[in-house]
Symmetry: C2
Subunit: 340 residues, 2 copies
Amino acid sequence: MHVQISAPGANKVQLDISAVKYDLIKDDKGVWIGESAPQDEGFHYYQLWIDGAAVPDPGSLYYYGASRWGSGIEIPAKDQDFYALKNVPHGQVRELIYFSKSNNNNRRCFVYTPPGYDKDSQKHFPVLYLQHGGGEDETGWSRQGRANFIMDNLIAEGKAKPIIIVMDNGTWRMPDRASGAKPGECPAGPWPPKGWADGFTKTMLEDIIPMIDANYRTLADQKHRAMAGLSMGGMQTRVITVDNPDVFSYVGIFSGGSISIEDIKDARGFKENVKLIFVSYGSRELENRRTGFGGDPKENTEKLKDAGIKTHFYISPQTAHEWQSWRRSLHEFAPLLFKD
Amino acid sequence: MHVQISAPGANKVQLDISAVKYDLIKDDKGVWIGESAPQDEGFHYYQLWIDGAAVPDPGSLYYYGASRWGSGIEIPAKDQDFYALKNVPHGQVRELIYFSKSNNNNRRCFVYTPPGYDKDSQKHFPVLYLQHGGGEDETGWSRQGRANFIMDNLIAEGKAKPIIIVMDNGTWRMPDRASGAKPGECPAGPWPPKGWADGFTKTMLEDIIPMIDANYRTLADQKHRAMAGLSMGGMQTRVITVDNPDVFSYVGIFSGGSISIEDIKDARGFKENVKLIFVSYGSRELENRRTGFGGDPKENTEKLKDAGIKTHFYISPQTAHEWQSWRRSLHEFAPLLFKD
């Protein structure tokens, strides 16, 4: 990507993208100019360094990632049509404030309602609970992810059913007692530590789902409820769906591990009731074996298939642990939902 | 306000707020620290200067103002309770994409639906069209303005009726032919030049209002339609409502001029049909006579009153041309709406 910024008094200015810093060159008007190596297609976070200060690019749009609002860049992609804003019927992305009893505070989530939701007040819809990654928040899937445009386009083409998508905040402080670690220390033993998802699980089951079922025209049963997430959100999806096969019937794990036979051997009713386990990765993650915890995702998923569970394994070509992998994953996953 | 940023290699770092730059001091760890003079209560845009580069503060939230996303700070206010997030029933802020025929493109607006909107599918609501200022966009009123929390709280206290609020983008390139100026030149004659609001007027009347009436349960008549705006949005409100007294019945102009007797002398049906003209300013704007165009706003408004038109003139104490004036203006204006 190309970048430029006026900083006539600066000694050193760098572009920082995909974990590499590129020196910019100052022109005779004090404008620093430069570019990075070619980037993967799709969305990337980046920042500038000006004399040792890490700052956003004032010329960019801002996205929540790395636990703060920062710059993002969209690299044109050969397949960008599937997440483009087009002149098709559009759903709405609704910002919702609700009171969480289990946390005793106000929380925010975003809810995608499909095109036509407000037209027929008798119609009810299935729901996908869709989670962001670590350091991101409830804005990620509609901003970086363009989940609303992906769904609008799939629905317009007749490739996916109209569904409600709930995007809440899964960021959770590690429970000290569960992890056994002192504050600031990494806990010993397998990662993630047992209990790490308890807080969000409780919020999902006791607050989010009942609030959504009370306020939207949902089909409020296991058959019509899906959960998916990317990275940390995929790990949360695994824990929550394996522990609650009576709540969710479709499971999507994007760059966030997989489900093994061992995971579900004690999960009563899982095999009978869960309709699909979808697992995906960017191709570069698999090449570099950056596949997270819990064993080889492809092998795990094949074993589930051999055991009679419906699975779908997807590899996003030429992408790494990044939003283009997850946009494509949603685009592959959504058409498979609620077909049974 | 206090600010700090790590920039060990920088020569000069400044905080830039309310049109004043304050030098920061570097500590022995390379962190630049400093503070501004005390600021008015409420919301302020600000930025940092690092060796000549104007950048957002990486530790802040971002807001759209000055035609770009930049940092904002909230100075605690004695009256902040009226725009606080409280545990009351909340409306929703919905992000809407719609196709504009008059512009032949996709546009975005935000729509506040009041608490309970989805509960009773038979109930219809009045609508306030609420516009941002110059250099801002359709995100301003729900982010900087906290219009949704102001309304949630007023409705919870029984002080305002539940209404729909539509927040669209009024930014418009000056029409060259209308202004008579060459690109880049200021047009001669009175400001704003005739015709400057034609583009947004057409979009409001031909696209936005019909789209809202088609997609929401509105009371779709003049009696139940209001328009208000701040600064540039107030000037647009004046032009659009004076030209269309058959469309809007309540008018709010916040720090954006006023309506004079001369403005409406040819506007047939205005006096009979328009229910309220609300005009407001921050007290510091009046002290400094920064009241925009078209004569003294208080005198103008008193003359309207003398002519038998219902008016309300409000002064926000100890604030200037800034969001705290406009939050308070909405808080004063909303309870007066749709009482007849």
